[in-house]
Amino acid sequence: MAGTSLSMKDIENSSIRDVFGRALVSIGERVPEVVLLGADAIGSTRGALFAKQFPERTFNFGIAEQEMVAAAAGFATCGKIPIATAYAFLLSMRACEQVRTDICYPNLNVKLMATHAGISMATGGTTHHATEDIAIMRSFANLTIIVPADALETVKAVEVAVEHSGPVYLRMGRGEIPNVHSRDYEFVIGRSTCMRAGGDVSVIACGTMVAEAIAAADSLEKEGIDARVVNMHTIKPLDQEAVIAAALETGAIVTAEEHNIVGGLGEAVAGVVSEHAPAPVIRVGVRDCYCGIGPEDGLRRKLGLTSESIVSAAKRAMSLKSSRNR
């Protein structure tokens, strides 16, 4: 954990957005060029800690995400490293064209850090969900997309995103999710993490669904099925080697994401598999619908964003593999 003043205890006992807030302070201490931009959600995106520590480097644009993103481009041309924060639905959709034209097209060193992604604003309803952002962001050349799976990975991703030269979209939920990484975990952009070895089927997951994938692998193990679990924390550039290896070595793939199955991680994986090592790919995710309103747990069950869905998808992928091999 070079360069961060966060203790492991801090990280292990905190929600993603609380850890994110402290990671911002840590990177602000280390990198003087970092400035924080917000759009009247500096408090709920947990930028308030940074704002308190570095008031002169914090800029609230009010409720104006499009302007904030375009202004971030201006900051970047002057040698600053702007971290533009907002809820994921606003950063990816309200400011969508600004992200493409002002940040990605000129390849500017802006860090877009989106909170409250997926259905984490559960009871807030569909207006505040973001199940489309990965699909949108994936289509922008030059952009790196990172979806951390737990608090530790969030801290590391913030640091690595700032050290990386070029635009980054960092996608976070807001809640407490189980830690899936150990303390000595090394985070490298574009290099996925094998959470569990296995030869019968591969589950390639990102974000909150990594913990579900591990739980699914536990269940499958009890039935004698040996599932590989890959944390695909970087959606772009995708770790093609790991995807091809999963296809060749296990012959059956399940993807899992808190996002529409249209345009997300699943389609990214399926694209690589179909071009390089054809094998069945079953996508677990939001099935091209708006998610409605409800408490997060209930909504997850209703939408099938669960380990149980991954288990049944894994069995389906394996049966497709065996029917093909007959």
Binding site: V35, E56, R57, F59, F61, G62, A64, Q66, E67, M68, V69, A70, A71, A72, A73, G74, F75, A76, T77, C78, G79, K80, P82, E97, Q98, T101, D102, Y105, P106, N107
Partner: protein, 283 residues
Amino acid sequence: MGRAVLKTPEELAARARDIRKHVIKMVGAASSGHPGGSLSAADIVTVLYFNEMNIRPEDPGWPRRDRFVLSKGHAAPVLYAALAEAGYFPVDDLLTLRRIDSHLQGHPSMRSTPGVEMSTGSLGQGLSAACGMAIAAKLDGASRRVYVMLGDGELEEGQIWEAVMTAAHRKLDNLTAFVDSNRLQIDGTVAEVKSMGRIGEKFAAFGWHVIEIDGHDIPAIMAALAEARRTQGQPTVVVAHTVKGKGVSFMENRVEWHGTAPKPDQVQAALAELDAPLKGGDA
């Protein structure tokens, strides 16, 4: 260091005429592009690049340089002409406008063309980027200034007003915006499409220092810039009343020359008119 500064209105008027000729030649050679809004902005762009701004064309990345953002990016030809005349790249490049491997794209690209400070062309966004630049300058305690060129039709984009609020809120007195008010947009007059009313009063209501000028009166442009530099605690907007197609009589005030290139005979006619002796006090 830097490009030769032109001090007198007469020298600047002559340079503006050269820039207008480049605009006609390059858009004619490309058979595509936006002559009308380039010609309306030519005098202001000339004063900025050859009198006002602190720049080093031989070192486009010089950190202390002033910044110019052409928010109305479709006027790229006038920017390219000024950059070439200032020495950022060879004047001969201008005739490659819009060709497949040219660095001079239809709308400015900061990664392609030396001297272009922001990739623009999608209207409404340049002022926001300029605010980012102006805030960054203040953060650095630097004296560099930021200039933006907006179109009057462009003011219909809501994001303009987000940035107008920020510039006033943050007291960005290092920021000067021009509104090239040529009163025309693609679908007709601005008054017909979405009437703006009094532009200056709108900016004033948001807390900007407002100066209204004839945007082809070079001494007035110079005086407005001097006044903007003297203005403290608030950004300045120069509402410049201009003529779309200025300097080429058959293009003046005609909306069809917004995005239409002149044919070879029209190029010759336009150049002949621009080459006619400058009239004293022409405005």
